[in-house]
């Protein structure tokens, strides 16, 4: 074994009060350290005598053999373990206090607390898992919500693998046919082949297109839906952010232009993560600092997945900026008619919005003072993204950028195949792009080794060390 480092330990289950908790230890000194802290029913430190891949009853004890907890302990000796090192898993009672005291004992006796992802890192460095799987596990560790977790699990389980693999098989078959025909024209006839390939190619393009589109959603779901709050100064943008976040984040004043930079907050609505950005009010301004803020607001709104457009309903006009109108035409937008508590001075109504921006735009009457409309807003957002289509249970989404890039590259290669067929180029030309598509797809599932990925994963793993 070349990867010799400390023996590490960590609580492998959630740090909550539960029935059972698991503490995992991995490294060269695992058996020695845990042996000191373990006694069997007869009171002997007998861990070292156990066979690999057994589960045993006993107690965790401190240095003075005082029993800390009654446990089951599983032993997986190197190299037949997740990390390829000696691994022990202590199944203790799940109370937070008990688990913490076992962990402290381990640390006192020579273990080091594992960093996030360190077990996987060792598995990877010791050659237990390949690059794609390592990548998926990294995503799992860094996953922000359940959706992403499920997706990473699916990737590890290989649904994405199967989809891509099936596509690759088909492409390979056609490549092989072309190669055979080039070398053995007597037995492999290419007459009319371009038409046949063209049809297949179209199917592949559609499949990739679908995967790429779902990958967009996948990325949204993983990083959170980028939600940008826009509106004129003092329309109530920062108050909305605070209401959604449930705590004071932005500075809320009555002075126009208080928010000069962009404030970001991650908010969870059931299963969806929103990355909400509060921007400076969009208006023409002479203040230099504020001007920068406004420019940034427009920019960030342009890349938003969802825009919350907040309008002061007591205002006399809807918009003084055509940049807002442009954004509204392109994006998912929810309009909030704010300050609805000041009922006697309302001048802008729902129908005014529909007249200007079309009747499809959802409009909610809100008040930040009386909390009106906030629940309705949450419901609309949830509905918008859940419409039944976005359930990750069995469908696969490509959730990382590298994979998405490879998909797009494969897609573009197939588009080039299409162009070559249309231009009546001979088969040996489009086989170049078929080969590219095949290789790009291979990168996604680790069938084509992209050596950049090694470095990338290394840098991910070695971050902060």
């Amino acid at each position: 074994m070349f990867f010799k480092e400390d023996t590490i330990c960590a609580i492998a289950t959630a740090m909550i009060d539960a029935g059972i908790g698991i503490i995992r230890v991995s490294g060269d000194r695992t058996l020695e350290i845990v042996n000191n802290l373990y006694i069997d029913a007869k009171g002997n430190h007998s861990l070292k005598n156990y066979e690999s891949h057994t589960i045993n009853y006993g107690f965790i004890v401190d240095e003075n053999d005082n029993k800390i907890d009654e446990i089951m302990i599983s032993i997986m000796k190197a190299p037949r373990s997740y990390t390829k090192e000696d691994v022990v898993e202590i199944n203790s009672h799940g109370g937070r206090l008990i688990m913490e005291s076992i962990l402290n004992l381990l640390i006192k006796n020579g273990c080091r607390l594992a960093e996030p992802g360190e077990f996987t890192k060792r598995a990877f460095l010791n050659g237990r898992i390949d690059l794609t799987r390592a990548e998926a596990v990294m995503d799992l560790i860094h996953a922000q919500n359940e959706f992403s977790m499920k997706n990473s699990e699916l990737q590890i389980g290989g649904i994405l693998f199967n989809k891509i693999e099936a596509l690759r098989k088909e492409i390979l078959y056609e490549m092989a046919f072309i190669e055979s025909a080039i070398d053995d024209p007597e037995n492999y006839d290419l007459t009319g082949y371009d038409e046949r390939l063209s049809k297949k190619n179209e199917e592949w393009i559609n499949k990739l297109d679908y995967l790429i589109n779902t990958s967009d959603e996948g990325i949204i779901r993983k990083d959170g839906i980028k939600t940008v709050i826009i509106g004129k100064p003092n329309a109530g943008k920062s108050s909305l952010l605070n209401k959604l976040a449930g705590e004071e984040k932005a500075i809320v004043t009555d002075i126009e232009g208080t928010t000069r930079d962009i404030i970001e907050e991650t908010i969870r609505l059931d299963d969806i993560v929103l990355r909400v950005l509060d921007t400076a009010g969009i208006r023409d301004t002479d203040d230099k600092v504020e001007k920068i803020g406004v420019e940034r607001a427009v920019k960030s709104a342009q890349s938003a997945d969802l825009i919350l457009y907040i309008i002061d309903s007591t205002d006399d006009s809807v918009s003084d900026d055509e940049r807002i109108s442009e954004l509204i035409l392109e994006k998912h937008v929810i309009v909030l008619l704010n300050k609805n508590d000041i009922s006697d001075s309302i001048s802008i109504l729902e129908k005014d919005i529909h007249n200007i921006y079309g009747s499809n735009i959802p409009v909610i009457k809100t008040s930040m003072v009386s909390d009106t409309g906030i629940e309705e807003l949450k419901k609309i957002i949830t509905d918008m993204f859940f419409n039944g289509n976005l359930v990750p249970k069995e469908e696969v989404y490509v959730t990382n950028l590298r994979q998405k890039e490879a998909l797009i590259n494969a897609f573009e290669s197939l588009k080039k195949v299409e162009a070559s067929i249309e231009a009546s180029m001979s088969e040996d030309f489009y086989s170049i792009d078929l080969m590219n598509a095949y290789a790009f797809l291979g990168e996604i599932i680790g069938q084509e080794v992209d050596e950049d990925l090694v470095e990338e994963i290394f840098s991910k793993f070695c971050m902060g060390k």
Partner: protein, 643 residues
Amino acid sequence: MIVDEFDVIVIGGGHAGCEASLAAARLGLKTIVFTLSVDNIAFMPCNPHIGGSSKGHLVREIDALGGEMGKNIDKTYLQSKMLNKSKGPAIHSLRAQADKMEYSKSMKMILQSQKNLTVKQAEIEEILFEELDANEDSSLLHDGYERKVIGVKTVTGLTYKGKTVILCTGTYLKSRCLCGESISYTGPNGLQPSNLLSKSLIEGGVELRRFKTGTPARMDGNSIDYSKMEVQTGDTPVIPFSFDTNPDDIQKEQYNCYLTYTNEKTHEIIRNNIDRSPIYAGIIEGIGPRYCPSIEDKVVKFPDKIRHQVFIEPEGSGTNEMYVDGMSSSMPEDVQIQMYRTVPGLENCVIVKNAYAIEYDCLCSGQLYPTLELKKIRGLFSAGQFNGSSGYEEAAAQGLFAGINASMQILGKPYLSIDRSEGYIGVLVDDIVTKDNLEPYRMMTSRAEYRLLLRQDNADIRLRKKGYEVGLISEEKYQALLQKEDQILKETERLKGIKVGASKDVQDFMDRHDSPRLKTAASLSELICRPELNYENISELDPDRPTLSKDVIEQVEINIKYEGYIERQQRQVDKFKKMENKKIPADINYDDVLSLRLEARANLKKFRPINVGQASRISGVNPADISVLLVYLENYNRSNNNH
């Protein structure tokens, strides 16, 4: 008795041996080539042609590096043709019918006229080895060497000392020929085999195996009715193989070939007698090439095909024998007669030489460095059919490559290396060295991943520089190449820079050539990109163009027309090179690389690749193994850098 000492000893005077010995002698090394029969130097025991799909590329590359095959066939061809002209330029391939006897005579004369080269008729029975001397230059000592070669011994008891030995034994090692139930213990065409050398090689630690190949019958030309066949003529004018041959010097009246077909009757005879074929009867132990199948194999493999092509080709100007291409066989001769006589035009054919299969000893895979030197034995190189390939061109290419590298070893200069993106020779050598080839290896277009860059038309641009660096290409020829490259570059740039507007004259020109009218101004190179236009036919829009040779124009046109494809292929090559540049330390212990699958570990240990790219091409090594290896190397390098 020690007769003499040589730098390079070549065993075998076939296509590999000729190139190997010429290369060494031309590099100034004292060289001797042994052959069983001086009158059969560069003999063509099978088909009477040189080149063809992908093999034509090899001949061009041999020529670019300073080899002889291209020049010799230019002098002795009977007919020549550029194949696949309807396809893209990557698979255009030159093929020439050879005047077999003239080809052989001419090559013999070249060898015998070569300075530093001795041609000797003798059978070698023993390779002489010695233990390694630890005091020797350590840079020559590879960790894999177990012993070194010091010379050879002939059956007549004479010893020739040599610093290096190149094995080019072709199909002659313990060969036997099979025709049905009849077995004769001879080399091809009844020539003497070499029965003693195998034992010496095995004693030296070389692992051998049996391969087989076959050849069709030769017919008496007077017995063939050509009126029932399609005539196949050559190209006019003929394009030479060699970059140094002046096309005007080699134009001549060409011989015809003929095309006919087998039919159901032929196949029925074969099927009825299949139990008498030595292969199907289990007599042949050697493994034959899938890509050069006998007619029996074709009938069995493609049962639905109602006919197979048969080409009738001349064997030479001094004989009326005709070669029956496509119908090699090891059936008994009585079946052969029946079978051939079912083919239109061959109804009354008289067989001069019957078809037969030949079995021979050759090298097991995994024993060669990428220089074609045996891993265990310093100074022992090998080339051609001994390495498990088939074909004259494959043999010649390896012979040249091994000849150069044996010479480089003696001269202490860097070895010649050609990777898969640089030439078909690179693909050939890499496949021979890294793959577990289970049958005779034949060059094919599909084996070259980067074939759009590896065209026969640019072999000089790809490889002349390497030939110059090793010393086989003269300064004068090298300068001519540099000038050609410069002209190509300048002309390509010029065409990109000149724009034509949408004037009436230009639009008329477009109409005349059925090309869409211009919407805006376009560069000349953009016009050349259009399928219906080319360098030639846009000349009236380009009145000030310089006078350039046909070769230069061809390159300019290809570069412009296929620019996008060439660029994409180049990017594939860049990626490939990244892996080639990831070196594997020579002292790597694969047992330390955990998680390699057993098969991968065994094969990596056996082949000991020098870089990750090569490792990825070894049989039984899959991408997961490569990522494991990459991670190991990254760790290895990181921990080494920390020290």
